[in-house]
Amino acid sequence: MASTDNSASTGPAGPAGSESRATGPAAGTTVTKEPAATDAAEGTPDQLAGLEAGLDALDTQTRTRVPLARVLLDKVVPPVVAIALVLTAWQLAYHFEVKPHYQLPSPADVARALQDKWLDGTLLGYVWESVSRGALGFAASLIIGTPLGLLVARVRFVRAAIGPILSGLQSLPSVAWVPAAIIWFGLTNSTIYAVVLLGAVPSIANGLVAGVDQIPPLYLRAGRTIGATGFAGIRHVLLPAALPGYIAGLKQGWAFSWRSLMAAELIATSPELGTGLGQLLDQARVDSDMSLVLAAILLILIVGIGIELLIFAPIERRVLRSRGLLASNR
């Protein structure tokens, strides 16, 4: 390590212009030549660097990686056990005929109904019909809900005007919109998308509002001091700071989209609309095919959970982990 001229670097270098003022440090030049007056060893840059490195090492936590077997045991085994218990209870209920078999088929019957649809080659078609509608509706909700949320969060008048309505809309079941949408748009895709939008937009917007409200004021202040104001402030400080709340809103928005979509598909059935999972469910009800009813419910559930687990959970985990907000990440 280089031993630089210590006296020059640590002395109270008489600042330019200080001599011009009456209150300036007059002694600035006389003391720089004797840096060793106190405990010189502690004052040298090398010593200080070493001390600092030591403190940094002591203060930095080492992160241990959790072994894969442990992750499997903690995360996979419990839900598998729960599913097994539900299936067992179901099978027992079937076995003892709690309800007649045509009302309560066995798990195997439901599996067979699924298998039949799979072998028909129609199963993925139903799923895709619904998932693509859900994704499109969600994307549209995102595009509408994000600027809306930003507006409500940042503009006081807009918040006072539509903030309460927006959070009120969240508690309105979106099925309630179906009759209205059918009268407005008839049995068309527009009806379905209208219902999905009315369900998802408020929750996405509200999520963003909550995210913005929860930003520590210090971040906004820090942003302003480094010059991130106006649009740059929104882009570099406000939006990233609100991201955790925003993602929570998106997650909820997806759940609302999916629910609204199923409600709309279940009610708005017509040959021109194609067959999504909701229509499949309604068809099975008409046919009194209980195995298929349960199979369709199962599929709706699986798609809902699957998208949450495969898309939203990893994004959320990543965002929270990178900010050190995940408790399990030790």
């Binding site: 002395g11 330019a16 200080s18 002694a27 840096p35 490195a53 210090l218 820090a222 001091t225 900010r323």
Partner: protein
Amino acid sequence: MTATLTQQPVTTERSSGYAARIDHVSKSFGRPGARQQVLDDIALDVAPGEFVCLLGASGCGKSTLLNLVAGLDKPTVGSIDVPGGRPALMFQEHALFPWLTAGRNIELALRMRGVPRAERRPEAERLLNLVRLKGAYGKRVHELSGGMRQRVALSRALAQDSKLLLMDEPFAALDAITRDVLHEELTRIWAETHVSVLFVTHNVSEAVRLAQRVVLLSSRPGRIAREWTVDIPHPRRIEDAAVADLSVEITEQLRGEIRRHGQH
């Protein structure tokens, strides 16, 4: 090695250069009728390259004054002039953005200053080097210790390349050992960068250890009560006899100021 104590005139007549001029500033909050005056006729110049500590008990309006100088708020009376442009500001909390790495935090400040993209990374690394955090570029804020965070925050403040650095009790939340090290670090960086520092604290020995000039504010409303020029040579230690002596003297004065409030 003597601490010369000089009763300073509050205002000084200067013709040339200052890093910040606080010109008879008063600040009140609240509505007319229920106004509370926080600062009363503060007049203070910070010379280019000077290190000034503002010292005071709670209620003296230190942070309010710093906000005014930072341009985050406007004085009720008087004016503030910072010729070097927007001052850099460092808080008691690191205020680093947790969604960015240490290096990116600094680069954001560089970007806001208009530094071209290609120059940002080398400059951020140079600034991290300056606070001796060479390896911290890719680290997330939560992976750093309290002392390291404040050093990154100092780097980010320096990234603004401002002539004036405002510090609002930046080491108050640190443990004593780390604070001691950061005092030394700040002294070194101040000497290297020739930046002017206006440092707010309620810690007397911190003020004496760091500053060339200690300005004591009285409380409610904040007024300049007294000034000391600190001529003790660097490197200073809190334990140095001269530092300790001056600290005792200033503490006495500070206690006197506080005592006045208990009398009515």
